[in-house]
């Protein structure tokens, strides 16, 4: 363990802006991308289900 305190950890030896700027954006994109990808599937599933209901109504 090379950190004396949590503050030292966040300061990153004076490189805090650069280290957290890199890791922060990386984390943000890697959280957003899977959410968007699974939302895309949920959206198409919803419209497929609607189509199915509409087809069933037509038949009745």
């Amino acid at each position: 363990m090379n950190w004396e305190s949590p503050a030292a950890f966040f300061a990153m030896g004076g490189y805090g802006l650069y280290v957290w700027g890199s890791f922060g954006v990386c984390a943000l994109l890697m959280i957003a991308e899977p959410i968007l990808a699974s939302k895309r599937r949920k959206d198409i599933l919803r419209s497929l289900r609607r189509e199915r209901i509409a087809e069933n109504l037509d038949q009745q």
């Binding site: 363990m1 090379n2 950190w3 950890f9 990153m12 030896g13 004076g14 490189y15 802006l17 650069y18 280290v19 700027g21 890199s22 890791f23 954006v25 990386c26 994109l29 890697m30 991308e33 899977p34 990808a37 699974s38 895309r40 599937r41 959206d43 198409i44 599933l45 497929l48 289900r49 189509e51 199915r52």
Partner: protein, 252 residues
């Protein structure tokens, strides 16, 4: 041998790949989380302070995996595109399309983290250097591929046009990789090379490799998630999609 060939063709159809991908996704997420956890622990706690760059060098643990993935995903994407052109298989174009946004994100991350590393170490966010410029071109190639496919309404024609762009763009990948050798650049040489012993401390090397594995697993998981959406979009009017439990409303 025979079995292998049969399996290949079986899973090359969207209909059988869709449920298979669905089963694989949680495993890749689990592996991504495990490797990511270990990798981050090494990044911030196990890896020692660098004697030249202090704590700033820790950016390497995401910069290098992102840059590797951006090149590797491009090659895989172009491979799927080529397969689609040659064999006219439906799944190939969908795979290429599913990989492009993930590759673009990796290319963006390599540029972004590179800028945040370059600023404190070189004194500049950006320089028009061979490595940086060719990596920027890779990002533009991904954007071009996505935009071109989005601009063509017929998916089969979009696949063909995209495939040609992807294949022409492959020439850029070796340029990126060898740019640090061929030209005098500000960017340092390869961190890991097949021909030379690694020049970095073992802990740092392991951290980087484990983070690279985490990025791999992440990319596979997210690309499979996206390809499932693309399969449903493109096969919306087929019988098998209408018979899916998640469409009938009887399952997830």
């Amino acid at each position: 041998m025979n079995n292998k060939i049969i399996n290949w063709f079986k899973y090359a159809s969207p209909q059988s790949f869709y449920p298979l991908a669905g089963k694989m996704i949680p495993w890749f997420w689990a592996l991504a989380a495990i490797f990511g956890g270990i990798g981050l622990w090494i990044t911030f706690f196990a890896a020692p302070t660098d004697f030249q760059q202090g704590e700033g060098y820790r950016i390497i643990f995401i910069h290098v995996p992102a840059a590797w993935m951006s090149m590797f995903i491009y090659i895989v994407m172009a491979g799927w595109a080529a397969l689609g052109l040659a064999l006219n298989t439906r799944l190939s174009g969908m795979m290429a399309q599913a990989l492009a946004p993930t590759g673009a994100i990796m290319a963006f991350l390599s540029l972004w983290t590179g800028a945040f590393w370059g600023k404190p170490m070189w004194g500049a966010w950006w320089v028009w250097d061979a490595r940086l410029t060719s990596a920027l071109i890779l990002f533009f190639l991904y954007i071009g591929f996505i935009a071109l496919q989005a601009a063509i309404d017929d998916p089969r024609r979009a696949d063909k046009a995209g495939a040609i762009l992807a294949l022409v763009g492959v020439v850029n990948v070796p340029i990126i990789y060898f740019s640090v050798k061929w030209w005098n650049t500000l960017h340092q040489g390869a961190s890991v090379s097949l021909t030379k012993a690694p020049t970095m401390a073992a802990t740092m090397l392991w951290g980087m490799l484990i983070m690279a594995l985490a990025f791999w697993m992440y990319s596979i998981a997210v690309a499979l998630t996206r390809v499932r959406a693309i399969i449903l979009e493109r096969e919306a009017h087929t019988e098998w999609v209408k018979e899916l439990p998640e469409v009938k409303g009887t399952g997830q």
